[in-house]
Amino acid sequence: MSDAANHITLTIDGVEVSVEAGTTLLQAAEHAGVVVPHYCYHPGIPSRPAQCRMCLVEIEGQPKLQPSCVFPAGDGMVVHTTSETAETARKSVIEFLLLNHPLDCPICDAAGQCMLQDYAFETGQLRSRYAEAKLVLGRDRVADDILYFGDRCIVCTRCVRFMEDLAGDNALVVAQRGHKAYIDTFPGKDLDHAFRGNIVDVCPVGALVHEDFVFKARAWDMDSSPGICPGCSTGCNVEINVKENQIVRTKPRLNPDVNSYWMCDHGRRILVMANRGVRAEAPMIRQGGELEPASWNEALSWVAEKLSDSSGVAVVSAGASNEALFYTRALLDRLGIQGGTFQVEQGEEVTLTGFPRLKLRADRAPNVRGAELHDFRLSEELPEVSDGATLVVLGDALSGAAADYGANAGFFLYIGSHLVPAARNATAILPAATVPETEGTFVNYEGRVQRFHRALRSPGVARPSWMFLSRLLEHLGGPSGVREIGDAFAVMATDTAGMHGLTWSGLGLRGELLSEAGQPAVAAE
């Protein structure tokens, strides 16, 4: 569909752009490097009521300003987004929106990331002409975890339309009409949809806020890192917001091939929970029957010395990165241990009906395909450990294990982040950074290799598993250990079917599909 016949050329703010027929003026303006301010329009929400009137632009030959979010670009059209008429109209919309707004930016969680604040600042309106009493609506709850601040609401209906168009659950609506209109649920029927949290993300102002985020952090006090949600095998692209080394919020990050603008609430919770629990902060080795802390050098040489070729079993986590799994496999190969299993928690599958490729998938782990790629096998049970055998555990694979699991092993190497009860039976504990504390890749349900970046500092001297495992292999006579994720990925890509040709930098922020060699005979979906 890219032949010239389907293309039209128009001029926007003096810049000539060529776009496909059917493109709206707002989208065409983006090609010209012009962002037309807007509220009700959201690129991920199909319905476009053109009701906020913020994106009105002047088109030569048209008597009235037109909403660029729906007005189709026409050949030869000359459009002005910043003409005096358009600017005045926009400024006026801001004034209207601020009439009854409480101007509570100092305590509003959206401050700093608020489209109303931004445009008000841009249009420079310091004083309101409004001399009347403001309407007061107060605060309401629309879900057990989402609050609605009615006074801040500009009734753009993005949230209502997300629920209707995307979630397919018309449970959030505009009540009343005119200047009395507000957003509401039916009494006693708060939102319970698995994707409801997106209404907070689409809110252009601070009207909808997650309760666990209220008053927690200012936008400018947070760091933000691109991550991959570990909640299920979809691998939603996310943005992790961190304040004082704590994850305070997770938001979806646009990836049209995976999750579009959305993510589910299970994923939001999972990442925040990643911070919790008792952590392994230093390497520990069992000496005289007790686990004693040791330095990395000490621990790695000790483990290398004590570990010997033997029969044994391995358990890994499908939440571990490909790089960690790769080096674990290399270690197992070095030790002559075959196989290895992982478990995956199963949950109800929920589809976002308006973007059906996005599902909260039944496999509640991010790297099932990665674990399979490195020859680990799904199992419902933890493997039995014969007395005296070697046991290698990677990642948080023992959270559901009995407290005495592994106690009978001859050598129990625990490579993990959390000191779950069974971990205390280990012969040696190598403290691993959690996923948000490190960089790496996952392979999602459809074989897409996606990068995640570091959002947090690790506690103590915990380090990425791939990093210290490569050093452990060095101690065992292997090549030099790697220090950079790119190097770790390169080693893995060379040795792993389906990953040939992939590079860390080449994956970028949208990921790449495994080649056919890495895909199972029958596609996952």
Binding site: P49, A50, Q51, C52, R53, M54, L56, P63, K64, L65, P67, V70, T88, A89, S92, V93, F96, L97, L99, N100, R129, Y130, A131, E132, I154, V155, V174, Q176, R177, G178, H179, K180, A181
Partner: protein, 423 residues
């Protein structure tokens, strides 16, 4: 008050001929009065030929916008690929207008016949007559007439043995002025909030239930049978070149004889007010007239010599609208009257577009403050600013509806505002 109202102007009473005659309400009585004589003719005609006659008659939409009816019908697809609908707009809710209710309650079968002929022309299979909820007594008369028409084979399956099927349903609104806007009406008919939608899609492409739809006003449709019966030229003997025919004028406010009068388009507005309606009672002078329903620009008593037709009222700086002059005598507080009008639109704004949702209520509040003596000079500037920003900025013209009377009141009666501010 008796019907039709007697007045001295020489006019033909076409639509209102049988107003006041209870006989016209029943099917039997209506047939005796010559009703349903045109429908058989329409059933034998090619649909496009019906449209052509209406086009040639120059009939224009009586709901306020004045769009040529035949042209509107011609937008409908000629070869249906599914259902077409006709919506009859009986949501009469413009303050000042009370004409359609007279048709509903006195000549319901005239409306039904008009609906059927129009449905035939646009190839509609179902006519929805959307009547404002408040009109219980009038919708009941219409409803009973529809049932009678069903029973006698004028509506429903195989109408008059022609093989043509067309249903008619009377549908009640529930209190929303904006349901009178055509897309708002369809939103409401479909079981939604009466929120107008942005065009395109136009109703003739995708209207009610996503199907090609035409929305016509009651008075427009009621004029159709006679036009088809007597011909376009016959209809053109009344009115002007650009505004042919007669019009129901609804006159209210400070008048000796308020009421609904059928007068030819192009009638002198001053004559309507003074000759037909007898001017203001008690010998008072008239201060201002809002000529076309509350959404049109005010005229002063000196500006009333204008031609009461679409183009004439536009020339006079106002609009014919629904031809519903609201007359205000010399004692009227213009600011207060304007506040009352603004309050109506603030109450009726659907709330989608920001300028309308916030602007109408802000306007009403400022006017109220000025009325109470707490106004400032800056308020006048703000009102002018509001007039500018509420014009042509929104999906539907509700916001513009406040601007027309407001701007004209500011321009023409500024002294009244100033007097309240300076007090």
């Amino acid at each position: 008050m008796g019907y039709p109202y007697s007045h001295d102007l020489e006019v033909g009473t076409l639509l209102s001929r049988h107003f006041g005659n209870e006989k016209a309400r029943t099917l039997e009585g209506w047939k005796e009065l010559g009703g349903y004589a045109t429908l058989p003719k329409a059933l034998e005609m090619d649909p496009d030929a019906i449209t052509e006659v209406v086009k040639n008659s120059g009939l224009r939409g009586r709901g306020g916008a004045g769009f040529p009816t035949g042209v509107k019908w011609s937008f409908m697809p000629k070869e249906p690929s599914g259902a077409h609908y006709l919506c009859c707009n009986a949501d009469e809710s413009e303050p000042g207008a009370f004409k359609d209710r007279e048709i509903l309650r006195w000549v319901p079968h005239l409306l039904i016949e008009g609906c059927l002929i129009a449905a035939r022309a646009i190839r509609a299979e179902h006519v929805y007559i959307y009547v404002r909820g408040e009109f219980f007594p009038f919708s009941a008369i219409l409803r009973d007439a529809v049932v009678e028409a069903y029973e006698d084979g004028y509506v429903g399956q195989n109408i008059l043995g022609s093989g043509w099927n067309c249903d008619v349903t009377v549908h009640l609104g529930a209190g929303a002025y904006i349901a009178g806007e055509e897309t708002g009406l369809m939103s409401s008919l479909m079981g939604g909030r009466a929120e107008p939608w942005i065009k395109p899609p136009f109703p003739a492409q995708s209207g009610a239930f996503g199907r090609p739809t035409t929305v016509n006003n009651v008075e427009t449709l009621a004029a159709v049978p006679m036009i088809l019966a007597e011909g376009a030229d016959w209809y053109r003997q009344w009115g002007t070149e650009k505004s042919p025919g007669t019009k129901l004028w609804c006159c209210s406010g400070h008048l000796e004889r308020p009421g609904t009068y059928e007068l030819p388009l192009g009638v002198n507005l001053r004559d309507v007010i003074y000759e037909v309606c007898g001017g203001a009672p008690d010998g008072k002078k008239i201060k201002a007239v809002i000529p076309g329903g509350s959404s049109t620009a005010m005229l002063t008593a000196e500006e009333l010599d204008c031609s009461g037709c679409y183009e004439g009222m536009a020339e006079a700086g106002s609009a014919l609208g629904t031809a519903s002059p609201i007359v205000m005598n010399e004692d009227t507080n213009i600011v207060q009257a304007m506040r009352r009008i603004a309050q109506f639109y603030a109450h009726e704004s659907c709330g989608q577009c920001v300028q309308c949702r916030e602007g109408t209520s802000w306007t009403a509040k400022i006017l109220h403050r000025i009325e109470e003596g707490d106004g400032t000079v800056e308020d006048i500037d703000t009102l002018y600013h509001l007039c500018e920003q509420m014009t042509g900025r929104t999906i539907c013209p509700l916001a513009d509806s406040v601007v027309f009377p407001l701007l004209s009141s500011l321009d023409k009666f500024r002294d009244e505002y100033d007097a309240l501010i300076k007090r």
